[in-house]
Amino acid sequence: MGGGDTDGRLVRLFALTGGRTRPSRADFTLITTVTAVDPPPTWATRPQPEYQRILRRCAEPIAVAELSALLDLPVSVVVIMLCDLLETGRITVRAPHPVSCKPDMDLLQKVRDGLGRI
């Protein structure tokens, strides 16, 4: 029933995160944008291949969900790895637009206008 494949993948994902199942920070959402810091900090060491894959993908700003889809990795795994990259100064992070009970008319009007153009 494909059990071997599934088990293999789980082991691989577990290895990628060093056995961690939770991120060290909670500030990554699906539409948080991440961008590789370029050039990398002078103290930066050569990252593991999987981290390099992420850094290549976020040379231009990219949302966490897109990164996860393009790398074919679950969001939770990508987020744990992004925490590592953030902590070592390899990426910058932009939080999504905050949505609160008090609606942001300026934002809504921008979205309305933008949709009207497509």
């Binding site: 539409i31 370029d38 996860s68 679950p74 910058t92 999504p96 949505v99 934002l107």
Partner: protein, 203 residues
């Protein structure tokens, strides 16, 4: 601080809208018809902890269930991107993916009049969480046997929730449903503001 003098490209502001509804109702079709990219798929492993015992029927030997969702993107302007997330219709676990609904501008609940009950859970979810939504009645082959008001009555929806007839395969039709949602958000904001004037957000 780390990388303070490094140059990074300005990241855009991001917002999201959820496209929800029962299995096979046309969520991914709608995402694909308005998105500027082919729908992408991402997934999350949700641990079984906290699920009702009944919900674990058939997956007793697994510690996690994988929930996949398709999403698309619309660039509103250089500095603002709208993401559309189609909630997975075949699993009952998507609501455990808390990040999915958190911070959404609102939702579109797609409805198939031949199987309206398949979208009840989504309507219920957004009502209980106070997340604004519109109902898009996806007419297969463009067929719409019932007028919107009749559907609103049948679903016992409040007056301010818009019910729209649409065809999720058509870009313009899907776009109009999204615009209706934004108009509904603007209308309720104006109402709660009381003045009818557009106000700039205080940041």
């Amino acid at each position: 601080m780390a990388g303070s003098d490094a140059i990074t490209r300005a990241a855009p502001d991001t917002v999201k809208i959820l496209i929800a509804g029962g299995f096979g109702v046309g969520k991914t079709t709608m995402v694909g018809s308005v998105s500027e990219i082919a729908p992408l798929r991402t997934e999350e492993s949700l641990t079984a902890a906290g699920l009702d015992v009944d919900d674990l029927d058939g997956i007793e030997e697994k510690t996690a269930t994988t929930v996949a969702l398709d999403f698309g993107r619309i660039t509103i302007s250089r500095g603002l991107i709208l993401y559309l997330f189609g909630t997975p219709g075949q699993q009952r676990f998507w609501f455990m993916w808390n990040d999915l609904a958190l911070g959404a501008l609102g939702a579109v609940v797609l409805l198939d009049v031949r199987r309206p009950e398949s979208s009840f859970a989504a309507i219920d979810f957004f009502e209980r969480r106070g997340i604004p939504f519109v109902v898009g009645v996806n007419g297969f082959y463009g067929d719409h046997p019932y007028p919107p008001d009749e559907i609103r009555d049948a679903l016992a929806l409040p007056d301010h929730v818009k019910v729209l007839l649409c065809d999720a395969r058509e870009r313009e039709s899907s776009r109009d449903v999204l615009i209706a949602l934004i108009d509904q958000l603007i209308a309720s904001a104006v109402q709660s503001n009381g003045t009818g004037r557009l106000t700039r957000p205080g940041r």
